[in-house]
């Protein structure tokens, strides 16, 4: 079943991208939410670029960057013995870039809304800066993290233009669900296209329902036991 391998590959890509981005985007979003630095608008614009650029444009430049003739692609080849372009690693790198705003923006909004007050309060109660962050901001930003993670995961699953440009269509290596659907339609294999497409629609819907349900419970459980 080529569909199964495409589904599994897509889930892997989306999961790796989401987990990596949570770690990368947290400090970036925190900085964006609180800094007065003059470079802030520049950084903010850069992280938002993937939102407004046509995916094929981004894909084209990433392909050039990943090719063995470029600095990055060349040194990757020298270090690992494999090319970045048309590889799963290349797809992960590309996904990290194009999904970045979907993680950074909800987190920035959440951090900005929480402000520094919880940290200040925790500090006056004797908590060191990291401890204060971990015990106040992190739990208070829970629903922001969930929203960001779901958006990132879903967006990574659904992306087409960039993965086609960067990854191509190698079964088991770069052939993702969206590529498989496109190929099925091209070859007039509508049955397989239907299965994958309807599957994606159902998946997206179920995930959203689960998220909204979780957020509702999170909002309620901010009030501890015995008060509901």
């Amino acid at each position: 079943m080529t569909e199964l391998s495409a589904i599994w590959l897509t889930v892997q890509l989306a999961a790796i991208t989401t987990v990596t981005l949570i770690m990368v985007a947290t400090p970036l979003a925190w900085w964006l939410a609180h800094t007065q630095h003059p470079l802030r608008p520049l950084v903010e614009a850069t992280t938002a670029m993937p939102l407004v650029m046509p995916p094929t444009v981004l894909g084209f430049y990433l392909l050039l960057l990943f090719s063995p003739n470029s600095g990055l692609g060349g040194s990757w080849l020298a270090l690992t013995g494999s090319t970045l372009a048309f590889s799963f690693t290349g797809l992960v790198l590309a996904s990290l870039i194009y999904s970045l705003p979907f993680m950074v923006q909800p987190l920035t909004a959440t951090f900005a809304q929480l402000g520094r007050k919880p940290l200040e309060t925790a500090a006056t109660l004797g908590a060191s800066p990291w401890e204060a962050w971990r015990t106040t901001i992190l739990p208070l930003a829970r629903s922001g993290y969930l929203t960001a993670a779901v958006l990132t995961f879903a967006h990574t699953v659904g992306e087409f233009g960039i993965v086609l440009m960067v990854g191509g269509n190698i079964a088991g290596e770069t052939r993702l669900i969206s590529i498989a659907i496109y190929e099925s339609v091209e070859t007039l294999n509508y049955r397989e296209a239907h299965i994958l497409s309807a599957g994606l629609v159902a998946f997206s819907f179920l995930v959203l329902v689960a998220v909204y349900q979780f957020n509702r419970q999170a909002a309620l459980s901010i009030a501890p036991k015995g008060t509901r």
Partner: protein, 378 residues
């Protein structure tokens, strides 16, 4: 106790304070926006400032080296409570408590003691989001104490609460300041709170210290400079110190003695101390030339007018009458030379002042409704 020589800038305000604050409870008094909160933030280390801060023998700040907030052991009660919404009331209280235990600080305040002192037992499992304004203020003060502070910073702890909530919290504050002997800075722009709780007062305006000293004397000077009304500093008034000589549970009346004259006030409970500090708002004091009869106002204190000044600004058309109360108490060493504690101020209309032909030296009776005297703390 606390030596400050600091300068800080926030927005339009430049804070520049150089002073020594003594042990005990000190009020920081001044109009909104004069930098009171900024000063507390600087002391706690929450905002960067230049200069030096010393607390007893500890250096909190000296030029570029600053002790971080979490190592200063300051208890800060913020104006907006700032309870952690994701934790229960008990977890909020334990937040600072367990950290103090881990650091092996001197645990002077036991968690259970604080809970019972603030009557928090019924609230422990509740979420802060479900508490009333008065309850969350109580939890907030208790939480700051649980962290075993060496210095307590209270930023307008009674602001935004209605009269009933204030009378609910004032006794707790009075008890802290009386029993726990934690040095405290109490920020307020309401002078009767200060009169009740604070022995020492600092007056701020535009980021600077304009006066400092014994609370009764500072409030007296404030009136004389008429700065209080110009700076919109709550009500002007006077601070009296009186002896408790009786309490009638049935009528909830406390009888006080003030230089040989008696004064009745309403209080639900018998005052805990023999000496009471009272704040009399100037607008609550009326003036009569004869001792009135058949009047609901029960307090008529005999005195002599020492000075009359017109008030300006928002209080146009009013005059402030400075009254020295008669003292029949022959043991009183200050007999004949009234101190600040035997002076009261009354605001009356300029027209009434003319009709009654009041002037310096006129003997009068100062009329005060018992109900209008704030029930004193503790």
């Amino acid at each position: 106790m606390l030596s400050l020589d600091i300068e800080a800038k926030t927005g339009d305000l430049t804070l520049k304070i150089c002073t020594d604050i003594p042990e005990g409870v000190s009020a920081i008094f001044g109009p909104s926006g004069c930098g009171k909160t900024t000063l507390l933030h600087a002391i706690a280390g929450l905002i960067p400032c230049q200069g030096s801060i010393r607390f007893h023998q500890h250096v909190w700040q000296q030029q570029q080296s600053r002790l971080p907030v979490h190592k200063r052991q300051v208890g800060y009660v913020f104006q907006d409570d700032r309870l952690f919404p994701h934790l229960s009331v008990l977890e909020n209280l334990r937040y600072g408590y367990v950290r103090a235990q881990k650091k092996q600080l001197d645990m002077r305040l036991n968690l259970d003691d604080v809970i019972s002192r603030f009557d928090l037992a019924p609230l422990l499992q509740r979420s802060p989001t479900t508490l009333s304004g008065g309850e969350s203020r109580r939890v907030s003060i208790a939480r700051a104490l649980c962290a075993q502070p060496q210095l307590l910073l209270l930023d307008e702890p009674l602001t935004g609460l209605d009269h009933q909530r204030k009378t609910e919290i004032l006794p707790y504050l009075a008890a802290i300041t009386r029993d726990l002997s934690i040095p405290t800075l109490y920020v307020s722009h309401i002078n009767d709170e200060i009169a009740h709780l604070c022995a020492h007062t600092l007056v701020m305006a535009d980021g600077k210290l304009v006066d400092q000293g014994d609370t009764a004397k500072v409030l007296g000077r404030l009136w004389q400079s008429s700065a209080a009304s110009q700076q919109n500093l709550g009500e002007s008034g006077s601070l009296l110190e009186a002896q408790v000589i009786g309490f009638d549970q049935g009528t909830a009346m406390v009888t006080l003695q003030l230089g040989g004259q008696s004064l009745n006030i309403i209080s639900p409970t018998k005052p805990a101390t023999a000496q009471l500090r009272l704040f009399l708002a100037a607008s609550d004091v009326a003036i009569a030339l004869e001792k009135p009869r058949q009047l609901s106002i029960r307090n008529a204190l005999a005195g002599v007018i020492s000075d009359i000044r017109p008030l300006d600004g928002a209080q146009f058309g009013l005059v402030a009458v400075d009254i020295h109360l008669d003292s029949s108490d022959l043991d009183n060493q200050n007999h004949g030379t009234p101190t600040d504690k035997q002076r009261i101020v009354s605001h009356i209309s300029a027209a009434a002042c003319q009709d009654l032909k009041l002037g310096p030296g006129t003997p009068i009776f100062a009329l005060i409704k018992s109900a209008r005297i704030a029930s004193p703390a503790g």
